[in-house]
């Protein structure tokens, strides 16, 4: 492996401070440079490893950029039809209730075609974790408008910017599911800075641990970037996301269990 290294005398096994989780397979992610999917995968993988869940995890991957989740995470995975992951996960969890079951979905998957499955799984309080990566655009298919695209935002199907009068406002799925009795823990995070990565990991750890309690659906939205779709560099996209997406999708817990 071709490496660029710092001070060689410090590079010793006993000095190891951070390495990528073994639950991440050695395949190169197909994601664009700077895409939040990769970071989110890594956080999930670390938690699966740290919590000893690799033998009992079953994930459900969507249609979208992260359809190939099963090439990157070394756990059992089912690839689901577009939007249907919560239904697929419902059956898995009901038939194998002691496994850790999660869905991993983008905004087209969860907030457009899958709105019904998302709401109903949450309404029934299925004991699963739903990970919702929201970058306000359809990445995989080339940058079309999503239900979560913010007003005025340009995309290949809203070239003049999202026009609220004809296209409606951006749909805030996380806020909607937080109102349902069936959800137990609902939070919105991001992964674009180290501090946010740490907060996301903390939130996701809670969400994963809560599944053992069987008290309802845990839902974590990751507001993320799409440098390719937004036509910006990764660093620019993170700045743009902070300035423009966060006002519509503020970070923090929307629903926490009554302790």
């Amino acid at each position: 492996m071709k490496e660029a290294t710092g001070l060689k005398e410090i590079i010793k096994p006993e000095n190891l401070a951070y390495r990528r989780s073994d639950v991440i397979l050695d395949n190169t992610f197909s994601y664009c440079p700077g895409c939040g999917h990769g970071t989110t995968h890594r956080i999930l993988a670390e938690l699966i490893e740290e919590l000893g869940l690799q033998p009992t995890t079953i994930g459900v991957s969507p249609v979208g950029c992260s359809v190939f989740l099963y090439h990157y995470l070394d756990v059992d995975i089912q690839q689901a039809a577009h939007g249907r992951a919560p239904a697929v996960a419902t059956a898995i969890k009901r038939l194998l209730p002691d496994r850790f079951v999660f869905t991993y979905q983008g905004d087209g998957d969860l907030a457009a075609i899958g709105t019904s499955e998302t709401i109903h799984a949450c309404n029934r309080g299925e004991n699963i974790l739903i990970i919702f990566v929201n970058n306000g655009i359809y990445g995989m298919t080339g940058g079309q408008m999503a239900p979560t695209t913010i007003p005025g935002m340009k995309s290949s199907t809203s070239p003049l910017g999202r026009d609220v009068k004809t296209m409606g406002n951006n749909l805030k799925m996380t806020d909607i599911v937080a109102t349902l009795e069936g959800t137990y823990y609902v939070t919105r995070q991001s992964v674009h800075t180290p501090a946010n990565v740490r907060r996301t990991k903390k939130a996701m750890r809670k969400a994963i641990e809560y599944q053992k309690l069987k008290r309802g659906t845990c839902f974590i939205e990751i507001v993320s970037n799409c440098p390719s779709g937004w036509k910006m560099t990764p660093v620019e996209s993170n700045k743009w996301m902070e300035a423009n997406m966060f006002p519509y999708y503020p970070l923090g817990d929307l629903k926490t269990p009554a302790e």
Partner: protein, 74 residues
């Protein structure tokens, strides 16, 4: 007083040159290479390795997990 010193190892061929690690580094350790890797990306590398404090900010924010971090007290 003991100082914490770090050292990062970047998997050059897996790096996609997104620069998020560079802007996350608190000490200015990281810069982007002047030559591309075999995929055509200007990969990250520890340009000022003596500044590294092993905080792992770069590694934890890296979308592709290409950075391994070591640190020690000196």
């Amino acid at each position: 007083m003991a100082k914490i010193r770090g050292s990062i190892v970047v998997d050059v061929e897996k790096c996609k040159g997104c620069e998020v690690c560079m802007v996350s580094c608190p000490t200015g350790t990281i810069a982007m290479a002047k030559e591309v890797n075999s995929k055509g990306y200007y990969n990250a590398y520890p340009a000022n390795p003596e500044l590294c404090i092993g905080c792992a900010s770069c590694a934890i924010v890296c979308p592709d997990g290409v950075i391994t971090v070591y640190k020690t007290k000196i």
